[in-house]
Symmetry: C2
Subunit: 197 residues, 2 copies
């Protein structure tokens, strides 16, 4: 009788344990389903985001192009007036002035887009902003001074769009030393922000 009672009690415990295990299985299944649903939602979100992102990039590009070109329309207008209007003007000086004004307007608009000409002549040669096309020798100027410019350089913010193509002063070693004494090194005129005081 005692042994039988003990067996019943053990069996009861097992039933209880069993029940707990089933509860645990139900809980785990629910949790797993929940995480899986989350995974599916996130996966769908991610795919949508990728599609949207590709569209956003092409829209941003189109918008930027449009905005830069729109900003230049006043230059085109003045160009057109000067080309058409100039037919009546016989005075070279007036046409010249008009062209200079359009050029300045063009540069001012580009400046609004953070585009600026690179200053070169008179400053020290800086390979980050200048491309040396040839050397010349001017003993009264410091070695490596930019003497002249073939082509203007341009930068967009910190980035060089095109270096200035320049002629650089190159003195023989002995003259370079004496030029150095006569003309103490001057600050580069390249508007290089890193070189600024």
């Amino acid at each position: 009788m005692n042994s039988e009672n003990a067996k019943d009690s053990a069996e009861h415990k097992k039933d209880k344990h069993n029940h707990k295990l089933i509860e645990q299985i139900e809980k785990l299944t629910a949790e797993k389903d929940e995480i899986f649903a989350k995974l599916q939602r996130l996966s769908a979100d991610y795919m949508n985001y990728q599609k949207r992102s590709a569209r956003q990039i092409s829209e941003a590009i189109a918008y930027e192009k449009e905005s830069v070109i729109k900003s230049l329309l006043p230059v085109l207008d003045n160009f057109e007036h000067s080309v058409n209007g100039a037919e009546k003007v016989e005075d070279a000086e007036s046409i010249r002035k008009a062209v200079k004004m359009i050029y300045d307007q063009f540069l001012a608009i580009l400046k609004n887009h953070e585009v600026e000409q690179i200053n070169a002549v008179g400053g020290k040669f800086d390979p980050a902003y200048h491309e040396a096309m040839m050397n010349r020798k001017e003993p009264d100027k410091e070695d490596f001074t930019v003497l002249d410019e073939f082509q203007k350089g341009y930068r967009l913010g910190e980035k060089v769009l095109r270096p200035a193509r320049v002629i650089v002063n190159k003195l023989p070693a002995s003259e370079a030393e004496s030029a150095q004494e006569q003309n103490p090194p001057q600050q580069s005129d390249t508007d290089n922000p890193e070189n600024e005081d």
Copy 2:
């Protein structure tokens, strides 16, 4: 003895069942962990993609701006030559020719960016491409013909950057009819792709 055997057998079955439940719990736990790990990886990927995407958009904008402006540097070069070179030229006709060439170059570069002038004068008024600044009455021309242009219009691909500002022919009803008979309606000259044959 028999009842005891039966009990032992039931107990054995319960043990077996129990064992299966534990196996199922282990399996479910492993599956849940796996899905959770996937969710975490996807979530990290998504976050990285969002960061990268924001960077890609700003890079694409910068690249587009750079590319449009770079393409215009030859115009600026010729401008500069004409402004500087023109100092020596006293002949208005030569300067005029130079300006016309730069203008044409400018328009050609814009055409590479799909930017074109909207043709207006002589065609039929089209509110999608033209903005009527005033009306005039020219009885020998068809009603709603664009007579003159105050300001050039521009479009980028299909999109109007700026409509052409125009003067439109507006005839009284009676004259409009007779003009219609004398001058059969002509195809609009707006380069509107939807109007093209």
